[in-house]
């Protein structure tokens, strides 16, 4: 975890940072000093040199009044930058206050403020600026006011959205429960947590303000003669563009460069302020993948098993090279068997399942000595068969994921998603697939299946969504169901129903199941065999009955069992737990 200062220095050292630093320095230099150095020379009217092209005297030539174009452009920097910064300053401060106000004030009044912000956002800034120029006349001051006022609703809405999302987090509620006054919470807790995106956006907004000023001046509504900025120069240059293109192009390029400077500033701020999870290590996977010692099953692949894996390894790139997440896992699943994989967070159980299914995506990397599914070899390379029309897997291997809320596509009807494997892999027509899907929905006990077919996921409850997922997997006759924490997000009564559904499918159709869970009680109640994972390895491979009878061999398994409360646990003793930092990885493992 890098600290902010370290990150800043790193980013500044990168090519992007260097570019940004140079650009900002140049802009600052010109804004501060250019008028002093070249002001007079820029105003110098040389009637002998009207509208001349580039020459040793005038690098980009002269404009219609005989003035040096380059020098005028450089001197105009100050006005453009200063006005942009002033408007941004006012706009940002105003916007932040307006954005926070609804949260502080709350209730009906707060809602009206939000309505006001939304109305303000609806009107493009330029139109507001034009309106202001009518009232206040055409001048730099009017333009500054206009652009600042146009910025307030936009920045206000941005601030409000950020603040509102922070406002929903528990530490805000905690502050309220403690009794911290609302305004104090807003400034002490909300503002620092939104400061970073606000700063980044402010930089970009400043660039936008600069461009808007140029636009107003271009229209003649901003700075008036004898003052000049890039927009004004563009306006004058356009009329003579056929004669002296440079008179328009040079200030035009200046606008682009200045705008880009602010964008670069925003990028640098963004990278420096956000803790990044970016990896900068190139993928030299094969050479660096740690070849872990196999744990779990031993010996060659079991060809009778429906699933067989040898020495599965998963790694992720990090700041300091590849980190191994699964260190060589091997196991077999016999036909019709229900196997459970149990472990806590960080044990690698979900990764194991995901990689077996071929759904692991970059930047993670997976490798195995060998793997076989239903009599055919299984390639586990990242993302190979997951995105191809693989009929064997498409109808032979079913998957259920943890979060039913997000496992179904909210934009498509549930029925069409259930029917999809039929269309893709079973050669069904749309109508045949539809009937088959309705039948499957009924088989998983979803009532009124015909009507439910056309409904959308948000109209289903969590338990129903999991049933629909199971129904999807049952479109073909799968040899294996991979279930990744399928009931973790469900209520206990719904969980019982889903588990009994899985049991029934296994009993009636002989489908094998691999169930991953952190809940050892769930695993032992459904599965006949249990694999315990710890630190990326299988540390125990034991039958459920033996486990329940207390015959676990590995210390971690024993410790884990002790921490799970049941309805029979002794009430008079403190609850068992595994002290944090305890390490079970040295103890010899018992594979097989």
């Amino acid at each position: 975890m890098m600290k902010t200062r370290e990150r800043f220095l790193t980013v500044l050292g990168s090519p992007l940072g260097i570019l940004a630093a140079i650009a900002c320095a140049a802009l600052l230099f010109l804004a501060l000093l250019a008028p002093a150095i070249w002001g007079e020379a820029a105003a110098d009217i040389d009637t002998m040199q009207i509208s001349k092209g580039p020459s040793p005297e005038h690098v980009f030539g002269t404009d219609g009044s005989g003035r040096d174009i380059l020098l005028r452009t450089l001197v105009a920097t100050r006005l453009s930058v200063v006005m942009a910064l002033m408007a941004t300053g006012i706009g940002v401060v105003g916007g932040v206050l307006i954005g926070l106000l609804p949260l502080i004030v709350g209730g009906r009044f707060g809602r009206w403020i939000v309505v006001g912000i939304n109305i303000g956002v609806a009107f493009p800034g330029l139109l507001l600026a034009i309106a202001f120029s009518v009232i206040l006349g055409q001048s730099g001051a009017a333009a500054t006011t206009a652009i600042a006022l146009a910025m307030v609703p936009n920045y206000g809405r941005f601030t409000h959205n950020l603040a509102a999302s922070v406002w929903g987090r528990d530490f805000i509620a905690a502050a309220e429960v403690l009794g911290v006054p609302t305004w104090k919470t807003a400034f002490r807790h909300v503002l620092p947590n939104v400061r970073d995106p606000l700063l980044v956006n402010a930089a970009i907004t400043a660039g936008g303000a600069l461009v808007s000023f140029a636009g107003l001046s271009f229209l003649g509504l901003g700075i008036q003669v004898p003052e000049y900025d890039w927009g004004r120069m563009l306006n004058e240059g356009l009329t003579r563009i056929f004669v002296t293109p440079a008179a328009a192009l040079v200030p035009g390029v200046a606008i682009i460069l200045a705008g880009l400077t602010f964008v670069l500033l925003g990028e640098v701020l963004g990278k420096a302020l956000t803790p990044t999870t970016r990896r900068d290590v190139k993928s030299r996977f094969r050479r660096h993948m740690p070849s872990g010692e196999a744990s779990g099953a031993s010996g060659p692949i079991d060809t009778d098993a429906v699933l067989s894996v040898r020495n599965l390894r998963v790694a992720a790139p990090g700041d300091k090279g590849w980190g191994s997440l699964v260190h060589g896992v091997s196991f077999d699943v016999a036909r019709g068997e229900i196997v459970g994989i149990v472990g806590e967070s960080g044990s690698g159980k979900s990764l194991t399942l995901t990689s077996v299914a071929g759904l692991l995506d970059s930047p993670l990397s997976v490798a195995a000595d060998s793997a076989q599914f239903d009599g055919q070899p299984l390639t586990l390379k990242t993302g190979t068969h997951a995105s191809s029309l693989n009929h064997h897997l498409g109808q032979g291997l079913a998957m259920i994921f943890q979060d039913p809320m997000s496992s179904l596509n909210p934009a498509l009807s549930v029925g069409s998603q259930v029917a999809e494997p039929g269309v893709l892999h079973l050669g069904m027509s749309r109508s045949v697939a539809r009937s088959a899907a309705i039948e499957r929905l009924e088989s998983v006990r979803i009532s009124d299946a015909e009507r439910r077919y056309g409904q959308y996921p948000h109209e289903y409850s969590g338990g129903m969504r999991q049933r629909a997922m199971i129904a999807t997997g049952l479109m073909g006759k799968p040899a294996l169901i991979l279930a990744d924490e399928p009931t973790t997000a469900l209520d206990v009564t719904v969980q019982a129903e889903i588990l009994s559904l899985l049991r029934r499918i296994n009993r009636e159709d002989g489908t094998a199941i691999v169930l991953v869970s952190h809940d050892i009680a769930v695993v032992t109640s459904l599965c006949s065999r249990v694999l315990v994972m710890y630190g990326g390895r299988i540390v125990e491979n034991i039958g459920s009955e033996e486990l329940k009878a207390g015959h676990a061999k590995h210390p971690y398994t024993k410790a884990l069992l002790a921490t799970v409360p049941t309805m029979q646990t002794d009430r008079d003793r403190p609850m068992a737990s595994i002290p944090e930092g305890a390490d079970f990885s040295d103890t010899s493992r018992t594979p097989g």
Binding site: V115, I119, V121, A122, F123, P124, G125, L126, L127, I130, A131, S133, V134, I135, V211, S212, A214, G215, L219, G220, L221, L234, L238, I241, P245, A248, L249, G252, I256, G259, L260, E267, R279, A357, L359, D361, S362, H385, A386, S387, L389, N390, H391, G394, M399, D403, S407, L408, N409, P410, A411, L412, Q417, E420, L424, H458, E459, S461, M469, T472
Partner: protein
Amino acid sequence: MLATTTVLASTQGWWTHPWLIYLIRRSAYFIASLVLLVTLSFLLVQLIPGDPARVSAGEMASPEVVEARRVELGLDRPLIIQYLSFWRGLFTADLGVSYNSRLPVIDVILARAPATLELALAAVALVLVIAVPLGLAFGALTRGERRRGVEAGFTAVSAILAVIPEFLAGVLLVYAFAVSSQLLPVAGRSGLSSYILPVIALSLGPSAALTRIVRAETLTVLEQGYIRTARSKRMGPIRLYGRHVLPNLLTSTFTIGGLLLGGMIAGTVLVENVFAWPGLGTTIVDSIQDKDYPLVQAIIIFYGAVVLLINLVVDVLLILLDPRTALDKS
């Protein structure tokens, strides 16, 4: 809770359905905003510091001319009467007379508005046609930190293009296509080829911005659980992106797109002035400098109303696309 709502709605009558409630509320919002727009436009003249009649007639004008202008502007009547007659003018399509041309304002607007609207619509269509497929493609290519070089290139190019304001794009295009090569017309509106450069100028920046946004949204959608489910069904990439990813992009694309659209309406003012396009953009600048208030007010109302209408249409489209939005917002 959502299921309860739907059940309740169907048992208690269609008028309680969340969609309708939202539509009604949104329309009320629209009308309120319109009223506000008209009121603010009305106040424009009133807020001018000093004597609006004198400002309008010019510093050099004699007292008689100033008085005549005052009567013409209706400034001699009580404020409330002025306000009411302003509204009456809108409803009867009698918005006064322009000073310069002595033409009825409504005629000026009707004559010039089509040019502006054509420009805006063409540019919007171009932006959508470019940004959505391109953003989706780049999102697919650079997902999961693949092809970092492509991502860097995309970010750089789109950032540069997004920075270039429409008027500057216009000037650069004028230079490229008129000064150095005589390929396309750069002024006026006559024939299809004269549309090309103004439309490109207007759509360049927003296209780049929207492409970035669509790409970012694509990356977000690709992280979602339902995409993993889709991938577990082992389908080809076309089906995956077309059927499973695309519909989920549309909500945010339209939301941001709506805002960009509003900005592009304003952008027409700038682009028209570069290309001498005979729309309201050129008119409004002239009329501001000529202090032709009736015309200015009417044009501002026109632009504002168009923007508000776009926002309304976008919001309604969003509801149709994703019914859940109505539930969230009501």
